[in-house]
């Protein structure tokens, strides 16, 4: 009896321990690694047309055997399209290493929430998946461009996004979870990086093209390169990049490189009058002095700082005004900030925030600190 009991305990333990794992043994080479997905409107009665860029690896061949393989499929849901690839592909599509999802503008204008669901729900795609909107008519065009470096367009795009954030700052990356969080929060609207194809000397290539602006989950327009950069300042998403400044006609005489940047947004509410104060604290160095005038000698650090501060202030004010007027969508998250800092006021303002946003008064103050001038010629030595 005791023996039987012991055997029972062992059996129960074995079942509990062994069956709770994921029995998901799968050899690597039976997968087709998806690097990027393009989502377009479907034709012939289908709702979606999806293009998957897969990494096709063969043992030999040029380029280290890595080649892109575009698989296209139609479907009435995203998952449907994903699985209907299995009619032609001998390997199961594998999304764990998928880097980017490119949405066509046409689809984005109709709302992206239905598309997001599968990417969020399925076990394979990661929440760090990066989302972009294609400025070209279809997203597929972007994905099927031959990349400049390497073989896989999706890898190039994701690297470009990363380098852009560190050294240019025009298209802040949005990952799947951020997209979802933004869509489900009040007082902030979504922006996604925009991407477009570009004619180059030898064929076509892709480039980032600022941002696409959303209201709710529908795309309503675009922001160009420079405004996108100022947008990134407001959101505090600047990690690097340049500021072109100067005096009067010599508007780009000075180029500063951003070292560090911090932004504080402070809302003030009195009745229905909302004032937002944006303080940008910036550390920079002089990167280039492309001018006949020697700003360093004539104006010194303080002078250059003043120039840069003025440039930032007018730039940001202008951009915010443009967004208020043109789109009326709170992509800066001012509403969210009021919610955080002044929750009582927010409860009152929330129902009419869409209208109020356009009347928000914005005060921008920038504080630029030059860390060094990288001077190559001694003073007086000319």
């Amino acid at each position: 009896m005791k023996r039987l009991k012991r055997a029972g305990v062992c059996f129960a333990a074995a079942i509990l321990l062994l069956l709770s794992g994921c029995w998901n043994y799968h050899e690597l080479e039976t997968y087709s690694i998806v690097s990027g997905v393009a989502v377009d409107k479907g034709q012939n009665g289908y709702k979606y047309h999806l293009s998957f860029e897969c990494v096709d690896i063969s043992e030999t061949g040029e380029n280290g055997g890595v080649q892109p393989l575009i698989i296209e499929a139609d479907g009435n849901s995203v998952f449907d399209a994903v699985r209907s690839t299995q009619r032609e592909s001998d390997k199961k599509l594998y999304f764990n290493h998928c880097k980017v999802v490119i949405l066509s503008s046409g689809l984005a204008k109709e709302g992206i929430k239905p598309i997001l669901d599968w990417f969020l729900r399925d076990a394979e795609p990661r929440v760090t998946l990066k989302f972009l909107v294609s400025k070209d008519p279809t997203a597929e065009e972007v994905l099927s461009v031959k990349p400049q470096s390497g073989q896989i367009t999706a890898f190039q795009i994701v690297n470009t996004l990363g380098e852009n954030a560190s050294f240019y700052g025009s298209s802040p990356t949005m990952q799947l979870y951020e997209v979802n969080n933004t869509l489900n929060s009040d007082g902030i609207a979504l922006t996604l990086p925009a991407i477009e194809t570009k004619k180059a000397q030898n064929g076509t290539t892709v480039q980032l093209a600022g941002l696409s602006v959303f209201r709710g989950d529908r795309q309503i327009g675009w922001l160009d390169d420079l405004p996108s950069k100022y947008f990134a300042f407001v959101r505090g998403k600047i990690a690097g990049g340049l500021i072109l400044t100067g005096e009067g006609l010599d508007a780009a005489g000075l180029t500063l490189e951003i070292l560090r940047s911090k932004t504080e947004v402070r809302p003030r509410v009195s009745g229905d009058r909302v004032t937002i104060r944006i303080e940008v604290h910036l550390e920079a160095t002089v990167g280039e002095q492309n001018s006949a005038k020697n700003y360093l000698l004539e104006n010194g650090f303080e002078g250059i700082q003043d120039h840069a501060e003025k440039t930032l202030e007018t730039g940001i004010t202008g951009m915010v005004g443009q967004v208020q007027k043109q789109y009326g969508s709170d992509i800066f998250g001012f509403g969210g900030k009021i919610h955080e800092d002044l929750p009582d006021d927010w409860d009152r303002l929330k129902p009419k925030w869409n209208k109020l946003f356009q009347t928000v008064k914005v005060e921008v103050s920038a504080e630029v600190k030059l860390r060094n001038s990288a001077r190559v010629v001694q003073e007086g030595g000319k």
Binding site: G21, C22, Y25, E27, L28, I57, E59, G64
Partner: protein
């Protein structure tokens, strides 16, 4: 230690030399190395007859000739009877450091077979056992398995007394206690327990003595016999008894409060209790700068983890959790896997077995054939197998890394080999979850293991900082003021704290 062929209690049959000789000859029938040398001394008008009995090759012949035979022939014995003859020989004639007078046949036999000479005299019912041991032993050499770059180079050899002398030379104190035992019904192997009386943990000593008492075996050729007979968990592959060939290591362990067991005929000296961390402690740790020693020890611990978990981790990552691999790495493994006929799990298992075969053949093979092995191993199994797409290149890397790390911790070899396959089996079925489950099982096993009442992981979970100073790091000597808590009674190692500069 008795047995059916024991002569305990029986006595020499008579006081007649001839009858005693016949009796011994009968006992040793078939042993042609046994020599009976009869002598007659007629100096005082009376004939005194003696017989020397010894095993050829076991005695020092010159010593026998000069210090036993010559005095026996030249001594002028008195004329009064034969009764006191043997006493006279013992006290006045022979030049021997150890003389034992006995009539016990068992003792006589033991003396003869262990290089002593037995002297029988006419008219005496008792015999003298004279110490004339003289055989060649291996000289003192540096042990092959425990070489050091810096530190003492002496190693134990196969002679019990010589080993004890090496130990004694390092611990010149009356506090070193040495207690003799005999094992093996037929081999009658001598062994001894050594400990420092004022430091040793009494409970451990008592436990060891109790377990040794229960041993009843016919032959005892190496300390591993004892090891397996008295170990705490007979089925486990965790070592609970340490073994060393180095007198300096043995002395250090005694100083920490451990008990050593030296066995005649083997250079391997056992020490108990044996903690898990001792697998990673090298004697050289204490002879080199502590920074360097600490780096070495951390590397050894890391190597242990790698050699245990790497193959299992690789299988889990590439067949269950491909999302955990960075994309470029995934792609290169992907390329390497193209066209390989076996599943990753089988491939890993096969290559691990092949590696163990290579290692085993390397260990058993005569040295001159080493080159053949390395060529076959490296070229045929490594390169050719990858080129022929029988196995994938990453597997070779994984297995080699596993092997190299395994060679870094040779003391825990057995445990590693068994449990590497154990973890691999778990991860083949359950992926990373299985690997973690397996590791938990192993840890539970280790933490519940005791060595002579001392948990082998006791210093790992000790809250005492002094116990940690010789664990992951080797603290400088001026910081190690106390002996390990759980091992010894008297914990003070240095009473004046700190550096003496």
């Amino acid at each position: 230690m008795g047995g059916s062929d024991s002569f305990a209690g029986s006595k020499l049959p008579s006081d007649s030399l001839d009858r005693n000789m016949t009796y011994l000859k009968d006992l040793f029938t078939g042993d042609e190395t046994l020599i009976f040398r009869t002598l007659e001394n007629r100096r005082e008008r009376k004939t005194d007859r003696f017989c020397l009995v010894y095993e050829d090759g076991m005695v020092d012949n010159r010593l026998l000739n000069q210090d036993v035979i010559r005095p026996l022939l030249e001594f002028r014995f008195g004329t009064d009877g034969n009764a006191g003859l043997i006493d006279v020989v013992a006290s006045e004639v022979t030049l021997s450091d150890s003389v034992e007078k006995t009539e016990d046949v068992e003792k006589i036999i033991q003396g003869i077979v262990y290089g002593d000479t037995v002297l029988l005299a006419e008219g005496c019912a008792r015999a003298l056992i004279l110490n004339t041991k003289g055989w060649k032993t291996r000289s003192i050499q540096e042990p092959e398995t425990e070489r050091v770059l810096r530190g003492p180079r002496e190693g134990f050899n196969e002679s019990l007394l010589m080993n004890l002398s090496m130990l004694r030379r390092r611990l010149r104190t009356q506090d070193l206690k040495v207690k003799f035992l005999t094992f093996g019904r037929r081999t009658k192997t001598r062994a001894c327990i050594c400990y420092l009386n004022s430091v040793v943990n009494r409970a451990v000593l008592r436990e060891l003595e109790n377990r040794l008492e229960k041993i009843d075996i016919d032959g005892m050729l190496d300390t591993n016999y004892i090891c397996e007979l008295i170990r705490d968990a007979p089925y486990s592959s965790v070592k609970t008894i340490g073994a060393t060939e180095r007198p300096d290591v043995a002395a250090a362990k005694l100083l920490e409060g451990r008990v050593a067991l030296v066995l005649d005929g083997t250079p391997m000296v056992l020490t108990v209790p044996h903690l898990f961390v001792e697998h990673f402690q090298s004697d050289e740790d204490y002879y080199l700068n502590y920074v360097f020693a600490t780096v070495g020890r951390l590397l050894r611990i890391l190597a242990f983890v790698i050699t245990l978990c790497l193959p299992a981790g690789y299988v889990a990552m590439t067949t269950f959790h491909q999302e955990m691999l960075p994309t470029p790495l995934l792609m290169s493994i992907f390329v390497a896997r193209q066209g390989v006929p076996f599943p990753t799990a089988l491939e890993t298992l096969l290559m691990l077995v092949v590696f163990e075969m290579l290692r085993e053949s390397g260990a058993r093979m005569p040295g001159i054939m080493g080159q053949t092995l390395s060529i076959v191993g490296a070229l045929v199994i490594g390169q050719a197998a990858v080129d022929a797409k029988i196995v994938s290149a990453p597997i070779i890397i994984i297995v080699s890394l596993t092997g190299i790390c395994g060679l870094m911790v040779p003391r825990i070899k057995g445990y590693v080999i068994v449990h590497r396959f154990f973890l691999l089996a778990f991860s083949c079925v359950l992926g990373m979850y299985g690997l973690l489950l397996g590791i938990i099982v192993l840890l539970a096993g280790l933490f519940s293991m005791t060595s002579f009442g001392i948990p082998v992981m006791s210093n790992v979970y000790s809250k005492n900082l002094q116990d940690e100073k010789d664990l992951y790091v080797r603290a400088p000597w001026w910081m190690m003021l106390k002996r390990p808590n759980f091992l010894s009674r008297n914990r003070t190692r240095q009473s004046t704290a700190g550096k003496s500069k």
